[in-house]
Symmetry: C3
Subunit: 152 residues, 3 copies
């Protein structure tokens, strides 16, 4: 079963791919590596759960945003590669969490993205990761996720 | 026309290359990848436009700092490679923006670096990118930019 | 003399390797690159010197935490590779420093990690680096360090 069939059987729907913009692009490939531009979670053109984790964004909302970022990264990869079956695994995930003072559960937020990637790719979806708490994110997003994938 | 002739015709002048320091180096190469150490914009030995975006640093000042960071990264690459003609493209750019509370235009700031790289390298200068808002940067810099280039 | 003998002669002791967790892993390898998940410094199961640099964590404490992060990254590499002799160098180090307002000595903190890596690997331990000041880190850690190594 291909990755896209798997997504369908799991009830996972890819969001529309991110629009290419002027001077950077959604995915840059070099050799076996595909660098996906960092995603902030958008639903219907609006940031999902804007604000900082801890105040007012809850852990559950942050995890949902991280998961949506990962789905958007997959959508970008599908657009760039033609098919997600060309993705051979996930190498690294960087998770930036907009954090109110005292919020230190960045790894739990990041699991929203990591768990989704392992759900989709299984063992080869397991990756190295960094999760840090930042001051502000674009458009007031609560989470930003950059994915580095291995492709054939 | 070589990249360095192109810089000249565009009126772009490379700053002096960053000094190597004790335990890290301006550029680390492995295979086709050249990792450039993150740059903060310096002019005449001083940080350009110190402070946080939003207060007191303006968007235009932040973009100018980001552009200067990109020029410094190119200067580091030229020093390491002998010639910028060995740069085959830009793979990824990480942009860290010192951000006052409520400043969420990190992508516009980052365009200062991205646009410069595309101006210089054209299509192969287009890259994957992350732009995030951080609490503080070295020496009070407003922007820090890490470039990953493809080299021959 | 192998790297592990060298560690012993220098009085450097590797901490226990980080535990693999559900959806991300301590080290992800692809070709010659080994991505190590970002480390926060733990001693006896507790965060070393919790808090922000500048208030209350001192520069010396931050450097000690960064150094411990680097040792943990080496421990993770040893666990993944079987021996540190398979490490051919350090490519890139990302250092995230939890920073109180006005703290701008992130590079000095990061030297705690960089100096350790050069002490262990010599010339091939020299790496590209980024050091930034972030709002919060997991579990209240003062420093988080992600290492990218070259392996055979």
């Amino acid at each position: 079963m291909g990755i896209e069939d798997l997504l369908a059987t799991q009830g996972l729907q890819l969001p529309p791919p991110p629009e290419p913009v002027a001077s950077y692009i959604p995915v840059r490939m070099i050799g076996e590596l595909a660098y996906v531009s960092a995603q902030v979670a958008m639903v219907d053109g609006k940031i999902l759960h804007p604000g900082h984790l801890g105040d007012p964004v809850t852990l559950e909302q942050g995890q949902e945003a991280a998961r949506q970022c990962a789905l958007q990264a997959l959508s970008a990869l599908k657009e760039a590669l033609g098919s997600l079956d060309r993705v051979r695994g996930i190498v690294q995930v960087l998770v930036f969490v907009a954090s109110a003072p005292g919020f230190t559960d960045q790894p739990k937020v990041a699991n929203g993205a990591s768990d989704l990637l392992v759900q989709v790719f299984g063992e080869t979806g397991k990756h190295a990761r960094a999760a840090v708490g930042v001051a502000e994110l674009p458009l007031g997003a609560p989470v930003e996720v950059a994915v580095l994938a291995k492709v054939d």
